[in-house]
Every structure is written in structure tokens, then in C-alpha cells.
């Protein structure tokens, strides 16, 4: 498929997701940014939060695992699990921005402290099983992210909460993990383990009881009796202090379905990320959770997209051809050889000019221009690949509105960068000076 043909596909794209009306609407209280890892979720959440604040809303952004420099620029690099005001905001619209980074252990501890008297809380906090559970159990981070969201919402100090979701293996984990963890902790087995005596007393349960003692015996051998005992005391202590975990998980789940919550699925125009995004869109629909649209980050464009990759390459060869015949260093010929990837050594050395011999200035310009054309050919090939992946998604979900964000050459780690992303987000389409088709 030639990129020239490709360009015509651009004319039948998905509806454009207009983000400003969404973040300006006082009815929008929670925006959840979800998607697979490495697609720019955190940056999107931070940029949206900043934009909403500068447009006059009182915003808090809950991030899970921001890049260090981004966190520093927002003043949330110290983990204290409390929203901090972000400095450097344009306050002319009298908005506010707070940001925080989730500390899952701290959040868990807070739940315990809030629901148990000091003595009982201490028992729980010192329980070894609790400690491993709160420090890094599968699903704890997701559970605590949702818990924190619930807390922020309950405080009612902000009129918009923007949440980033944990970098899970699967984008769906943050929906499932809290329930999974909840039902595990409230589960049948853990009940059986914690109350074997009750069971034994009932007639007709003898068989089960035999099974149980064999089972606790085996588990005890495997896990060590101490761990089982820790689990039992933990569950007993938790149980008497506040309602089941599952109930709490269900409550946050309901919050996500409530009016005022909007989901943004974040993706990059790559096969895997968009596949996850498609699953997510389907899942949200199945759960009655309101999808606002898809944010497609890192979309590439070109101001010279009338020039196809093929023509650019042909022209580059044209410019390089005479060189190979009459110039010795043959650099152009080597330039794209696989050796460029070499192992450890090469990197910085090629910053220096490679030869001291006088160079014909015109040749150098030719060589440079050929390089520019090759770069352009790469860009056009990338464009058509991205377009193909996007088309696949749009074919599956033509109803989903999409905001495209043009790729930035570097990382974002200050408010100016976030503001720039915000502008791009709101524009909904990357700025492509010459996209009009003949």
C-alpha cells in the first residue's frame, strides 16, 4: 500500500473527542485515565488536570507511578499520601490544582487506623501477614488506588478528580483486582480456616471437617503454621473492626458507574496498546461505565506528507549516487548498514566530523538532503503503520470518539510541557499543516 493511497483513509476517521467541554462541565466529577502500561497515562492525567485547573476548576490529580522528574516538577516527589498544591499554575481563571502520588501501604494503614481503636489497629499493623499484604500483594495497589479515589471524593474539597490507574499487566486489572482481593479476603476458604471450630460442632459437617483438618494440615506443612495463624488473627481483627473488604470494593465500583464519572482510554498507535484499548472499551460498556473516548498519544504527522516514502527514497538515492563513485570515504553507503546498531562502543564518537579532508560544500548539502529525505521516508512509513493500526481499532469501534495527540520528540517533565500536551489534547488532532488532500 503506498502512503499516497493511505492519506485518503485519513478522511474517514472516528468522531473527534472534544475534551474541553468534558473538563469544563461541572457535572464531570471524576475522570479515570486507563490503558496499558507505557502509553502516557500519567502524563495525560496530569496534563488534563492542569488544563482543567487553568480553566477554572478545583482539581486534584491522583497519580500512581509518575516519572521522577514529572513528579518533582509537580512537587509530589515526596511520598506523604496527601494532595499537595501544585505551584506555577496560571490562576487567572481562579482554579486550583492539587496533586498526589499514591502510597499504597500508607493508604491501607489509614483505613485500618480510621476503623479500629488504637490498640486493635496496632495489632493489625504489626501482623506479619498484614505487612506483606499491604506492601505488595497482587491487587493491593489497584485496591488502594480505588480506595484513595473514594476518600478524595468523600472529602468533597475538589470539584474534579483526575485519576491515573496502576501500571498493571492488563489494563483491566484495576477493575478486577479490588474485587478479586476483596473476595479472596472475604472468601469461603479464609472463613473456613478462621472458624474451623464452629464447623466441627455441626452434625453433617463431619466429612467437611475431616477434609478441613487434612487441608489445614497440608497447608500448614506448606506455608508453615505461623503464617496460617497470622492470617487467622488478621482476618478476625479486621472483621470485627469494619465491614468486609468486598463491600468496600463494591462501593468504589459503584462510584465508577455513577454519573459524573468519565473514562478515558489512553493508548498509543501500536498494535498491543490498541488491542488492550479495544478490550477496555468493550469491558466498560459491559459494566455500564461511561466511556468519554480514546486518547491516542504519540501520533506522528508530517508537514510534507505529499511526498511519499518511495519518492523520497528514490530522490535520496539520486542525490547519493554520484558520491559513491567518486568519493572515498563512502559514508553514505555505510550509513544504513546493520553495523549502526553495533554493541557497546560506538555512541558518542560519531559526533565529531569523520574526515579532515576538504569537502565539496555542494556534496555535503546533497548528502545532508539525502539524509533528510531518508528521515522523511521513515516518517512516512511510520505514518502508514500507525494509520493501519488505528483503522483496525476504528473498524471495531467506530462509535468511540478519539483525541489524537501529536508525538513529542522529548519527555515531558515540567508544567510548560504539560500545558503543551493539554493544548494538543484539546485540539483533538495533531497539527498537520498540509493534510488537505488534493
Amino acid at each position: 500500500m503506498s502512503p499516497d493511497q493511505d492519506r485518503h483513509h485519513r478522511l474517514s476517521p472516528a468522531p473527534v473527542l472534544d475534551l474541553d467541554p468534558l473538563i469544563d462541565d461541572p457535572g464531570t466529577r471524576i475522570v479515570v485515565c486507563c490503558g496499558s502500561g507505557g502509553v502516557g497515562k500519567t502524563t495525560t492525567a496530569a496534563a488534563l488536570g492542569l488544563r482543567a485547573a487553568e480553566r477554572g476548576r478545583k482539581v486534584v490529580v491522583l497519580t500512581i507511578d509518575p516519572a521522577r522528574r514529572l513528579a518533582q516538577s509537580m512537587g509530589i516527589d515526596s511520598l506523604d499520601n496527601v494532595p499537595r498544591p501544585v505551584k506555577g499554575l496560571d490562576e487567572s481563571a481562579s482554579g486550583e490544582l492539587h496533586a498526589m502520588m499514591l502510597d499504597m501501604k500508607r493508604t491501607f494503614d489509614e483505613i485500618v487506623e480510621a476503623h479500629a481503636d488504637a490498640e486493635r489497629a496496632a495489632t493489625i499493623l504489626n501482623n506479619p501477614f498484614y505487612q506483606s499484604l499491604s506492601a505488595g500483594f497482587a491487587g493491593t495497589q489497584e485496591y488502594m488506588a480505588m480506595e484513595k479515589l473514594g476518600q478524595l471524593r468523600a472529602r468533597d474539597e475538589w470539584d474534579l478528580i483526575v485519576v491515573d490507574t496502576p501500571p498493571s499487566r492488563s489494563a483491566l486489572d484495576f477493575l478486577d483486582a479490588p474485587k478479586r482481593l476483596g473476595s479472596f479476603l472475604d472468601g469461603r476458604l479464609i472463613r473456613l480456616l478462621t472458624a474451623p471450630a464452629k464447623l466441627g460442632g455441626r452434625a453433617g459437617m463431619k466429612f467437611l471437617n475431616v477434609g478441613m483438618s487434612m487441608m489445614t494440615g497440608t497447608l500448614g506443612k506448606l506455608l508453615g503454621g505461623q503464617l496460617l495463624k497470622d492470617v487467622q488473627t488478621f482476618v478476625a481483627a479486621m472483621d470485627t473492626t469494619f465491614g468486609g473488604f468486598r463491600t468496600r470494593a463494591d462501593a468504589t465500583y459503584k462510584l465508577l458507574q455513577a454519573p459524573g464519572t468519565a473514562f478515558l482510554v489512553v493508548a498509543a498507535p501500536e498494535r498491543d496498546a490498541l488491542r488492550e484499548a479495544a478490550y477496555f472499551v468493550e469491558r466498560l460498556a459491559a459494566e455500564d461505565m461511561p466511556l468519554a473516548g480514546l486518547v491516542l498519544n504519540r501520533v506522528h504527522g508530517s508537514g510534507a506528507d505529499r511526498l511519499s516514502a518511495e519518492r523520497a527514497l528514490a530522490a535520496a538515492e539520486n542525490l547519493e549516487e554520484p558520491r559513491i563513485v567518486d568519493q572515498e570515504d563512502g559514508k553514505a553507503g555505510l550509513r544504513n548498514s546493520p553495523d549502526t546498531y553495533g554493541s557497546s562502543e560506538s555512541p558518542a564518537s560519531d559526533l565529531a566530523p569523520e574526515s579532515d579532508s576538504p569537502v565539496d560544500p555542494e556534496r555535503t548539502v546533497d548528502q545532508l538532503t539525502a539524509g533528510l529525505l531518508r528521515l522523511h521516508a521513515d516518517r512516512m512509513q511510520l505514518l502508514s503503520r500507525e494509520q493501519r493500526t488505528r483503522d483496525r481499532f476504528t473498524a471495531l469501534h467506530p462509535e468511540v470518539a478519539v483525541a489524537e495527540v501529536a508525538a513529542l520528540p522529548g519527555d515531558v517533565h515540567d508544567l510548560a510541557g504539560l500545558r503543551d500536551i493539554g493544548n494538543r489534547l484539546a485540539a483533538g488532532r495533531p497539527e498537520l499543516p498540509e493534510t488537505a488532500v488534493d
Binding site: P128, I190, L222, T340, L372, L382
Partner: protein, 325 residues
């Protein structure tokens, strides 16, 4: 080359792909490798374009020169059942435990136990010999959990310290640690030339070293070809636009005069070069951060056509060329 090669990396860096390419590279010339998956994602099956992998070693590819790659997706539940069967001769009772959710319970409640089962299975394959006394596999390549969790995953001894202090699990953990901390093992980290993955790689290496686990190499994945070099990028800053327009025109791309087709190309092309320059500099910065970590560095090219079976063989060839087998 160590017999057990553990491949980790930040999510999204392509560690499964690198692990698979490494397994292929190590299998060339009549050798046999086992590619092990521990996270139940079926990433290997996807890469090799085969159906879902069962919990059993199965040949999935033939390497150049007649070598073979086997694959195994380790399921912690089934591994635990195997294990109970082996030590306690549970028979049908094992199945009853599974029904009650006890197996799930045990592996969930004690993540260390699950890790011992997973690493234990891989270490068993490392040590396994066939009837003629030769090793069953020349190399085992493990597609391991991501950098953030790799040290805890491999450091099973500490993890199960709170569990049984005697008995089969304890012994198993000891045996696993003997293999993992020996020169038989190398832990490789996959990264990209971007800030976060590089930072995570540096952190991961420090953690592995602190736990005295053998760190192998850094594999930089998806490296973009160098289309313009430093000299070009300097030149592009002050080259007269008209000269570029003339060159474009001489290559048959239209008129070089103001408003001509070639002239109109100059600005967008130069802008693309400027974007490239920003990335070029960032990548050089990250490369030098990686260089300071003092480990052998390998670079794998970005496959522009996306990842497929052919691409996997290409990466394997590249790894061999760079002496990874």
C-alpha cells in the same frame, strides 16, 4: 554462556520478544533450549504464532542449523499439585484441595511460595539430564517478571523465610538459590533508550547486586537506525535553506524557487530533522547512563514492520552476531 538466562525488563520494553530471540539464538547449531514463561500471559505462543501453550514442554521452533526451541508455560497451581504429589503422595486429595480453592489460596497468600514453584521448575530443567547423562537442555531462557519485581522473584530464600523453615519447600528454596546465585545463571535486563526504562534498569541492577544475584547484560531494544549523524545535525542548523531546495530540485522533486514544490519541502523536512535531533540527544544521554552501569550492552534494532516470526529470527541473528550465544 550461563545455562539459565533470565530475561527481565520494564513493561513495554519487549522482554518476551528478547527472551524468545535469545532462546532461538542459543539454539542455533544443533543445540536445544527451553523457553520458560512464568506469568501466564501466553506471550510466547503469540510470538511464535502457535496455539495456547499447555503446562508441558513442547517444541515450538527450529533454529537455523537444526537446533530446537522448546517452550513451557509454568502454571503455579499445577506446579504446586505436582509438587504435593511428589512429596505427599496426595492423589485424589490434591484435586479436592484444588476444588476447594486451597491451591489458589496457598499460592495467593504466600507469593513467595508461588515464586519458589516457578523458579524451582526452571531450575529443575537446568539440572535435568537424559539417559545418556547429558543435560536435557543446553540452555534455559526465562521470560521473567518485570524489573520492578525481579529481585524479589528470584530471591526466593528471603521470600519463603517466613514460611516453612524445614521440610520440602525449604529444601526446594535452598536448591533453587544454589542455582540462581551460581555462574550458571545470568539475569539480563531489557530496556529502551528512554528515561524511565533506563532509570528502572539502573535501580534493578542495584537491587540484583545487593541481593548478590548474577547480573548479566543490558539489552537495549527497539533501537532506531541512525539516519542522520552528529555532523549532519550540526550542518542542518545552519545550512542555507536555498541550498537544500536546490538539492531537492536536482533530485527531481520540483522547483527550487520560492513557492516551488522542492522549496515547499524544505521547512517540513528541516523540522523533522530538528525533532530527530532532540530524540538523538536524549538517546545519547540515556546511552551514556547505561554505559556507566558497567555491564556489557547489546543493541537490537527496531523492526519497522512490527514484530512477527521473521522479525524474531532477525533479532536472533543479531544477538548471535553480537556474541550472545
Amino acid at each position: 554462556m550461563s545455562r539459565l538466562q533470565v530475561v527481565s525488563g520494564k513493561g513495554g520494553t519487549g522482554k518476551t520478544t528478547v527472551a524468545a530471540a535469545l532462546a532461538l539464538a542459543l539454539a542455533t547449531e544443533g543445540k536445544r533450549t527451553l523457553l520458560v514463561e512464568v506469568e501466564g500471559r501466553q506471550g510466547i505462543a503469540q510470538l511464535f504464532e502457535t496455539e495456547t501453550l499447555p503446562y508441558e514442554e513442547r517444541k515450538i521452533a527450529v533454529a537455523p542449523g537444526g537446533g530446537e526451541v522448546y517452550a513451557l508455560a509454568i502454571d503455579p497451581e499445577l506446579a504446586l499439585l505436582d509438587y504435593l504429589q511428589m512429596f505427599y503422595k496426595l492423589g485424589g486429595a490434591g484435586r479436592a484441595l484444588k476444588k476447594l480453592g486451597a491451591i489458589d489460596f496457598a499460592t495467593t497468600i504466600a507469593p513467595g511460595l508461588r515464586d519458589v514453584l516457578l523458579t524451582g521448575k526452571a531450575c529443575e530443567a537446568v539440572r535435568r539430564k537424559n539417559k545418556s547423562g547429558r543435560f536435557a537442555y543446553d540452555h534455559i531462557v526465562m521470560d521473567a517478571p518485570p524489573t520492578g519485581r525481579i529481585t524479589r522473584f528470584l530471591n526466593v530464600n528471603d521470600e519463603v523465610a517466613g514460611l516453612a523453615k524445614i521440610g520440602p519447600i525449604h529444601n526446594q528454596a535452598q536448591a533453587v538459590m544454589r542455582v540462581l546465585k551460581s555462574p550458571e545463571t545470568a539475569v539480563h535486563l531489557v530496556t529502551l533508550l528512554e528515561e524511565m526504562p533506563v532509570q528502572e534498569t539502573a535501580d534493578g541492577i542495584a537491587e540484583l547486586r545487593a541481593a548478590r544475584l548474577p547480573v548479566g547484560r543490558i539489552m537495549v531494544n527497539m533501537v532506531r537506525p541512525e539516519v542522520l549523524d552528529g555532523t549532519d545535525l550540526e550542518l542542518v542548523r545552519d545550512v542555507p535553506r536555498s541550498a537544500v531546495a536546490k538539492a531537492l530540485s536536482s533530485a527531481g522533486l520540483g522547483g527550487a524557487r520560492r513557492g516551488g514544490n522542492a522549496e515547499k519541502l524544505v521547512d517540513p523536512l528541516v523540522r523533522q530533522a530538528e525533532e530527530y535531533a532532540v530524540r538523538y540527544e536524549l538517546e545519547h544521554e540515556q546511552r551514556s547512563v547505561l554505559g556507566r552501569l558497567g555491564l556489557p550492552l547489546h543493541e537490537l534494532p527496531l523492526l519497522t514492520e512490527g514484530m512477527d516470526l521473521a522479525g524474531l529470527y532477525e533479532l536472533a541473528t543479531e544477538l548471535r552476531k553480537q556474541g550472545m550465544s
